[in-house]
Amino acid sequence: MIEDGRTAIVDLSYLVASALFIVGLKQLSSPATARRGNQLSILGMAIAIVATFLLPEIEGDNLVLIVVGIVIGTAIGIVPARQVKMTAMPQLVAAFNGMGGITAALVSISEFSQKSEVGRGEGLSIVLGTLIGAVSFTGSAVAFLKLQERISGRPIVFPRQQLYNAGIFAAIGLLGLLVIVLQDGNFARSLLVLLFLASLALGTLLVLPIGGADMPVVIALLNSATGLAAALTGFVLGNQALVIAGALVGASGTLLTMLMAKAMNRSVTNVIFGAFGAIAPGAAGAAGGGEAKPIREISVEDAAVPLAYAQRVIIVPGYGLAVAQAQHAVRELADLLEGRGVDVRYAIHPVAGRMPGHMNVLLAEANVSYDRLYEMERINDDFARTDVALVIGANDVTNPAAREDTASPIYGMPILNVDQAASVIVLKRSMKSGFAGIENELFHNENTSMLFGDAKESIDRLIGAVKAA
């Protein structure tokens, strides 16, 4: 009777926790309430964790292990979370995602070992939880290494890779089937461990061939995978808090994945398996590069004058801004221009940066007011009424070929209508092409001038020149 009462309290606490997660996510719909929303989620998580200690399963020596484990894990998580630079956010999210994935896989394996006569549905949940958790772990690890540039961001392919993947996948299917049919016993447990190892290999092989620029999609997808794996462990434990929280994460990850793919005008399948197909962009790029088209280079002083005397300026940031850590310098330039009465806004393309919303976070770090940041749909019509568009380290997302040239590989991808501004100044390291590997027509337009060099240095010099103007 007493145990029933305790279990009821735990279940009700889980309900409260789930409700707090949902309200917390709802408050993310505005930057003004977002921080409180996240704090509500933290409260929900704290309630769920504390309530779990009341469960009758948790007692004795293992209780000590649990407390020690939580303390160690918290320390491991908090150190990088406090120190990470905003540029490196995608890596950190990938790292934490991998930790969630491995947790789900280990929980699934433990569940199987602790039960006898595992039912079909439970068996399936355990197999899938192990598979998805392990794939998410090594997939996130590879994504982390690519983003951190410990390994090449280029697609890594080797001969007959797809054949190996198919073989591993078939082996996983067979092992899974055996585990479910055998229901329990040491042999089945060993098979499940084999399945776990094969899934670790599969996760590595799936992400290696995906290029660094596509990592945002991969992280979003793996995020939703870990959510699903967490929910699957909840199925077996009969724990609805795990199911609800896992489903919420799965939904969010799926939405973001589709949104990113749409913004790149590619299917998710193309992103994941694209490296295996014949790569069209390379061919088109070579054709375009054959004829040298004129560009107009501009000096810092000549670039500063139109900026200083403009009425309306739109800044278009891209990953180049993040690489050069130029966000603070950009804010300084914008403040300076605003001081002269120029209206300065920022146009953010959905896939600018290394994860969805990455530019917004970088600019927020530099104290740019969030009401100055405009989504593509909200600002695209305003370029035509803009004096100067300042493009900083963005390339493909400004290429008018996506709008006009049906033969272009990026045709149909939504872009920022930068070319419609009265004049365009592009800050760029060199004439190197962007991720899609194609010429950007924008650079050859007669209203476009190019300012070559490191983005941060160029902006610092621009600040000096605007002051003098």
């Binding site: 926790a17 996510l25 930057p31 977002a34 996240n38 989620s41 933290i42 998580m45 769920a48 200690f53 469960l55 399963e57 948790i58 293992n62 649990i66 939580i70 303390v71 894990g73 491991i76 998580g77 908090i78 979370a81 905003m86 956010m89 999210v93 930790m99 969630g100 491995i102 947790t103 280990l106 929980v107 433990s110 070992s113 549905g121 439970e122 995020n223 870990t226 959510g227 967490a230 462990t233 199925f235 724990n239 609805q240 795990l242 199911v243 609800i244 896992g246 919420l248 939904a251 969010s252 973001l256 300076l336 001081g339 959905p350 919303g357 917004n360 976070v361 104290n367 007011s369 969030y370």
Partner: protein, 109 residues
């Protein structure tokens, strides 16, 4: 026991719908915090890890469970902490301040 799975599937389906409805309204400005926040929420699998470690009866199940608790707790703590840090940076400049900033800048130069 498979009834648990059925109930779980019901709850899962409903939560997916709810999640899509709620998350659809998150503006793209906040997509990075959304991602890292939901990333922390799936750390709830820590609870699963606590339960399996709690009832672990062999040394190797204790090892598995212990690792799972550590990684789960790191996921939760780190994910929430970095999200909070990030969201603390999202500020709107008060209108009055912005005006006086502009005034100062204009006179100074």
């Amino acid at each position: 026991m498979d009834q648990d799975i059925l109930l779980g599937t019901y709850v899962f389906g409903l939560a997916i719908f709810l999640g899509l409805e709620v998350i659809n309204r998150v503006p793209s400005t906040l997509h990075t915090p959304l991602m890292s926040g939901t990333n922390a929420i799936h750390g709830i699998v820590l609870i699963g890890a606590m339960i399996v470690l709690g009832s672990a009866d062999t040394w190797w199940l204790q090892v598995l469970g212990f690792i799972a608790v550590v990684t789960g707790a790191a996921n939760v703590a780190g994910g929430f902490m970095v999200t909070d840090r990030m969201l603390g940076m999202f500020k709107k400049r008060p209108a009055a301040n912005a005006a006086s900033d502009q005034g100062k800048g204009g006179q100074g130069r």
